[in-house]
Amino acid sequence: MLWLYLHFPHLLLDHLRRAFEEPAAMVVVSGPQPLVAQVCPLAQQQGVQVGMRLKTALTLVPDLAIHPGDTARTEAVLAQQAQWLYRYAAQIVLQPPDGLLLEAGSLRRLYGGVPELWQTLQQALAERRLTAWMATGLTPRAARLVARQGPGTCEQEQERLKARIAALPLAAAELEPRTQERLTRLGLTRLGELFQLPAAELARRLAPETLAYVQRIQGQRPDPQAFWQPPHHFHQQVDLVREAEQAQGLLFPLHPILAELEADLQWRQQDTDSLHLTLSHRDREASQLSLRTAGPEHRAGAFGELIRIRLEQHPLSAPVMALALTVRRFLDRDAPGGTDLLGETPDLREAWYTLVSRLQARLGDGALQRLAPEADHRPERAWSGVSLRPRSAPQAEASQQPLRPLWLLARPQPLQQAPVAWLSEPERIDSGWWDGERVQRDYYIAQLASGQLAWLFRDVRGGWFIHGWFG
């Protein structure tokens, strides 16, 4: 058996760079007392290191670009790498948060040797502008430990592989801190010295678990691996470092995803005719775009053109933070287009989804919405149209809503004539100073000469307006 391990020292940063060429030094930080979790090479040159406090890092590089790292996001990005790597190797193990393990022995014949495989992977990484430190090893753990040390060279010769792991410093062996401390106190510095201790003594004096761990590194104890199963659909996401305010800004980051999709379809030997694009915004729900091609398609260029036209027709409703492309419908290349031969079982939900997506595709985003109350004192902001997907945000209780007319005018109309009767005390609304749309008004319910029941207000400048009608 031969294993190959890919360690991504700054995967999240590579991922972010795909969408935006940031010249500045970048780090990913995590934890409540922010610590540096990933460092780009530029920041590293200036002295920033993994594990450093953010405060120290900022002292070293004051204009450091900081990105929050969370586990879920990191794992999603790692899985995204597994998806393309799957085209090169069938047996992949995810080692979150930053590693992928491949079974390489069985690939020798396919690629004509391990160096060739190594070369192919290097090239694939380079195309995607990813940094990964690779290493081969006789066991999964040996490959992992060596890979994490830094960029390595391809090696397949047994003895040299063994020598390489034996020479590894104990500090790099991912031992528990307590075990590490004990071994240091024994004067041991390298893994090889540990290998030479009698197994029984090692288990007795340290812990059986330690022996087991050491034996797994050496391959003297089985170390079963759970291989990754690729999902049936295609899904890739790009996170934007700077929010894109215009559709134009989305096209560049879309390129690599579409190239990935083309490669994926090529590998599947299939086409698709439906793309689903999700645009995430900071403070509102994501926009969903469903696109249909005229017929089965697999070329990135064709997809790109379709998306470009669509984005030009429907300007963005809000700045975009991230975009994701999902394809669930795959068509065999020789099959007639348009019929559901593959994919999930269509049910009612699916039918509903199809209807909505068709309507949306026809009418455009935002044309299809439902009403929902919003917690805001300003009447024009106290409701909003939301997309038709189930909401997750808590809704304001209807019973706690203040008295408001059912028909709220899109824009307040100047009051032309004095009302004939005043039916309420003033209600004062003064809110919204924070977003430049401050409202300062006294509202009244009054009856107009026409007999209509109007919701009137006087604004801070003294002007009178009708804002709605009561039934």
Binding site: L186, D283, D430, G436
Partner: protein, 1038 residues
């Protein structure tokens, strides 16, 4: 028409009220209100400030509080109401209720169930009920709640009506009418005030968002619908409320006649024996002390002083205060706890006789002119420092002596500072937290010249000017707002009756600690006294050193046995040899010593006070040094100034002098000077001194002083702000400086031993102290299982005692294990690890810690082998499931290599933070890594100006506020410490080595001033890779 506002929250209802108490008070005055009630939620913390602001106003202050109960009476809505104190009794009842509620909840919260209100006597409080809205409860439940209140406050209930013009108000008014009719209660107009002016609404929204941990944009209905909860002009109120409701406010106000100013400190009289007056008893104790202090008769001058002081104490009725201090100090002495008082009143002949201070009035009479100021109504100020490890005993004594109901700690109001203000407002405005952190980090807080706000703009961190303006305005407004109450470091308030009738008591974060709701400024403004019980590490060290000397001499040796004004002690200090000496051991102090060259006690008083922001920012250090070195004549503009400045050669050094100068040189009145003093004390949190600037400078110019001198004095006053260091404190500290220096000079082994046994304290790590001890010819012996104790000890007879390191240094060893080891140790010592294990039953972990520290050396020469054997001990558990123990049984002989010198050194550092073997730098030098490098010793002889290379472990990085842009780095090698100075430009070019290197190589030039040697850094080089695993602590930017 007239109006009294009866419901008003100040910002002491934390994160709710949007105005300071004084702002509310001033606005109420301007609007011509008859009265203003401050009704913070379950608190009277804002009362003293409101009282102080209304002292000269026609507006009457009413004391009240707002409560939301934790549960509801049967079938009733949950009661929420305001209580107003009618008189002193009612105030006491209110405080008691607040105390009950606060004591039943965690710090900062309260919990008051219905039953508690029923149980408390509240017959001198009035109740204003905020009835539930229709959404909250139906009419029946509301009525039930009203009837319950009626039963609790018969004839003293009102319905609080409000007109905030919000949605649903009409229904609520209708309900109020109905309830008033059904219950036959009067209705009273209230403002539900949260801010003094409508303009504070954005701030109130921001506070609400912070309280709900969200942003204003997402706070939604948690925000108020409008900004009507402010102190509204009376015409507006007349339009909104029926006249009868407004008149009712006055009826209520008339019934509330409690004045916080009438609170008197009822000091405990327990201490005075039956049948004696406090004055006679104090006189008696003083006379007793006199006989002890002056066995050969009290000098006449001191007698006169005592007489004068006692008369003053009697006149101001401060006897109980001094008696209390005497009692506490006497307790400490009976337990052998070292203590020392400081503060203006502490440096008095009476305090000397009572044993509160050791500062001898015959030696430094200069200090005793300022005792207690009769003119200013300022309570005496005495802080007493105790040994830091034993202060808790003193605190427990106080609790036990007076009971928990009569003694509690003063509060410290934690306020918004720039950092927290920016963070919280940023969050409330929905800024990206990472961006905010970056903001904060980019700000140079020390740079007082460009205000931080300007710095943020300079850094171009926000581009939207509207948002930037909002942000800055809000940050500026929220700064100084109270956030929560914390406990004062040691200020006790002790009262005659239950404390909770004087001021509410609440829980502190620490278990078993309680704090009152007022801080020291509040106590001061109400004229109440507190006793400061503080902790000081140096006192522990001194007491331990004295005990060791007593042991060595075979007779008790105490503070009075220390010879005063010994020239050899001053010689040592003049050479800057002061590591470990109290107060003067920092690098800055160490550099000042050879320049100031202290020769007598009073020089030390100056030395302690001069290396501080006040004198440094006022640029007073150089003039003083020049005059002291007689390079500049000592002159005075006039006699008045001479009186103030004579003892410091015409240069103001102390805070007292700066204030006195404001009076004699700038014409400040006593009252103005007092306000200046208070402003200086508060400057750090919310004060502003710019108001005094013009007056000071104009006043000085008018009296013929130079503009330069006036500007410098102003700067100095700013520098004192927040870091004030008065002469009265310096005087007490200087005494401890002398004592610790004397110990270091004459009994170094005992000195370092005492110091090491009091860690953590002071400026230096045990490693640095041990190295310094060895440089002073103290032999230091390693930790050893058969010789060490838990603490460090002195071995051998006579003056040649050796310092034996104790188990307390061993990382990971429990104190219990260390003590057990000593207790079971046979006379001939343990012979093997097995015996050690059997006799003591020590846990494997502890044994491993000992072996790791090399303490088991008697059992094996090879540290590694000894550890291996220790690990071989049979353990029962820990086998993998399904594997028989036999599989692991074998007796293969394993021989581990002897540790190398480098490995041993590393192991020492890892296990105890220091090594007695060669210094790592000696090893590196031998291995040829540090060619061409001077060591610290060689630097002493090197000529100034020449290029030089040095290298050392980085033990400190500092960027003092007084030296703009300069970073001081301290390097340690095998011969001593090297001071490196890095200029801003050099630092910016070489941030990486400067900030991250643990072993630093420096190319630079030597600079020399007298005995002080610096290396001015040019090229920095990080050599940390040479000491990969060495665990050395650096003290960075503290």
């Amino acid at each position: 028409m007239d109006y009294a506002e009866l419901t008003c929250f100040s910002n002491f209802t934390f994160l709710t009220g949007a105005s300071h108490p004084h702002e509310l008070a001033e606005r109420a005055t301007a609007l011509g209100y008859r009265a203003l009630a401050i009704t913070d939620e379950c608190s009277v913390a804002g009362i003293p400030r409101a009282w102080a602001a209304l002292r000269d106003s026609p507006v009457t202050l009413i004391t009240g509080s707002y409560f939301v109960l934790a549960d509801a009476p049967e079938a009733a809505a949950r009661p929420r109401f305001f209580l107003l104190a009618q008189n002193r009794t009612g105030y006491g009842q209110l405080c008691q209720l607040i105390t009950t509620g606060r004591r039943q909840a965690d710090k900062g919260k309260y919990h008051l169930p219905v039953a508690d209100v029923e149980d408390h006597a509240l017959d001198h409080c009035l109740c204003l009920w905020s009835p539930p809205t229709a959404d909250e409860a139906d009419l029946e439940a509301a009525l039930a709640c009203g009837r319950w209140l009626q039963a609790c406050f018969p004839g003293r209930c009102w319905l609080a009506a409000s007109r905030t013009l919000e949605a649903g108000e009409a229904q609520q008014l209708e309900r109020t009418h109905t309830l008033a009719e059904r219950l036959s209660w009067p209705v009273v107009a209230t403002g539900q005030v949260h801010m003094h002016a409508r303009e504070c609404q954005p701030l109130q929204d921001v506070l609400t968002a912070i309280r709900h941990n969200t942003s204003v944009e997402h706070a939604g209905s948690a925000l108020f619908q409008n900004g009507e909860r402010y102190l509204r002009p009376q015409p507006v109120l007349q339009r909104l409320f029926p006249a009868q409701w407004l008149r009712e406010t006055l009826n209520i106000a008339e019934r509330c006649c409690f004045d916080p100013g009438s609170l008197r400190y009822e000091y405990p009289s327990d201490l005075v024996p039956h049948g004696q007056t406090p004055a006679a008893y104090l006189q008696h104790l003083t006379a007793e002390g006199e006989r002890r202090r002056f066995p050969n008769g009290t000098p006449l001058s001191v007698q006169a002083l005592i007489h004068k002081e006692l008369a003053l104490i009697s006149e101001l009725h401060y006897e109980h205060y001094f008696l209390t201090l005497h009692d506490i100090v006497t307790f400490a002495r009976s337990r052998d706890i070292l203590c020392q008082g400081r503060g203006s009143a502490a440096n008095s002949a009476v305090c000397y006789c009572l044993g509160i201070t050791e500062v001898d009035p015959t030696q430094v009479e200069l200090l005793f002119e300022r005792f207690i100021s009769k003119d200013r109504d300022e309570p005496p100020d005495i802080d007493v420092d105790f040994e830091h490890e034993r202060r808790e005993e003193v605190i427990q004594y106080i609790y036990q002596r007076y009971g928990r109901d009569r003694a509690a700690l003063a509060a410290t109001v934690i306020r918004y500072r720039p950092r927290s203000a920016i963070r919280d407002v940023g969050k409330a405005l929905g800024f990206d937290p990472a961006l905010v952190e970056q903001f904060l980090n980019g700000i140079d807080w020390r740079d007082k010249n460009t205000h931080w706000r300007q710095q943020i703009l300079d850094k171009n961190l926000t581009r939207n000017p509207r948002i930037a303006d909002q942000f800055f305005t809000l940050v500026g407004r929220i700064m100084g707002f109270p956030r929560h109450l914390s406990q004062h470091v040691g200020g006790f308030v002790i009262s005659a009756g239950p404390l909770s009738e004087l001021v509410p008591v609440e829980n502190a974060a620490m278990a078993e600690r309680t704090v009152i709701q007022w801080d020291k400024d509040d106590l001061e403004s109400l004229g109440l006294m507190k006793v400061d019980v503080l902790a000081l590490g140096m006192l522990s060290a001194i007491r331990k050193a004295l005990a060791l000397i007593s042991q060595q001499k075979g007779r008790p040796f105490g503070l009075p046995d220390i010879e005063r004004e010994d020239p050899r002690v001053y010689e040592m200090l003049q050479a800057g040899d002061s590591i470990g000496v109290f107060q003067v051991e920092s690098r800055a102090q160490m550099n000042m010593l050879p320049r100031l060259r202290p020769e007598r006690y009073y020089d030390l008083v100056i030395q302690v006070a001069i290396v501080r922001p006040g004198p440094i920012q006022g640029d007073m250090v150089h003039p003083y040094l020049k005059r002291r070195a007689r390079k500049e004549p000592v002159t005075y503009p006039n006699d008045e100034v001479r009186q103030v400045l004579e003892r410091t050669l015409g240069v103001p050094i102390f805070q007292e002098q700066a204030i006195k100068l404001a009076m004699v040189a700038a014409g400040f009145s006593a009252g103005e000077a007092d306000r200046l003093r208070r402003a200086m004390a508060a400057w750090k949190s919310d004060g502003d001194l710019t108001g005094f600037r013009d007056k000071l400078i104009q006043g000085m110019l008018a009296r013929g002083h130079s503009e330069d001198f006036a500007e410098r004095l102003y700067k100095q006053i700013c520098g004192f702000g927040g870091y004030g260091f008065p002469e009265s404190h310096a005087a007490s500290f200087a005494l401890l400086v002398y004592i610790s220096a004397w110990l270091k000079r004459h009994h170094p082994a005992a000195f370092y031993c005492g110091l090491l046994n009091s860690q953590p304290m002071g400026f230096y790590s045990p490693s640095q102290l041990v190295q310094d001890a060895r440089r002073h010819d103290v032999a230091v012996l390693p930790i050893e299982v058969n010789h060490s104790a838990w603490d460090h000890t002195l071995e051998g007879p006579g003056p040649e005692q050796k310092l034996r390191l104790g188990f307390r240094l061993v990382r990971g060893l429990s104190r219990d294990a260390g003590e057990r080891l000593c207790q079971h140790r046979p006379d001939e010592g343990y012979r093997s690890a097995t015996e050690l294990r059997q006799r003591t039953g020590l846990a494997q972990r502890d044994l491993e810690a000992l072996a790791g520290a090399g303490a088991l050396a008697p059992f094996s020469d090879n540290r590694h082998q000894a550890y291996w054997q220790l690990l071989g001990h049979e353990r029962e558990a820990g086998l993998l499931l399904g594997e028989a123990p036999e599989e692991y049984r074998s007796d293969t002989l394993v021989t581990l290599p002897e540790p190398s010198e480098g490995q041993s050194i590393l192991a020492d550092y890892a296990s105890q933070g220091l090594t007695l073997q060669r210094h790592p730098l000696a090893l590196l030098r031998e291995q040829g890594h540090l060619k061409h490098c001077f060591n610290a010793q060689q630097l002493l002889a090197a000529e100034p100006g020449r290029p030089v290379q040095v290298a050392g472990l980085v033990t400190g990085r500092q960027r003092p506020g007084s030296a703009a842009g300069v970073t001081f780095v301290t390097l340690e090698d095998e011969t001593g410490n090297i001071n490196v100075v890095v200029w801003l430009a050099t630092a910016q070019r070489q941030r990486k080595p400067l900030l991250t290197a643990r072993l630093l190589h420096v190319k630079g030039t030597i600079e020399r001033e007298g005995d002080i040697i610096h290396v001015m850094a040019g090229k920095l080089n990080d050599l940390s890779h040479l000491i990969e695993n060495l665990n050395v602590r650096s003290r960075d930017f503290q």
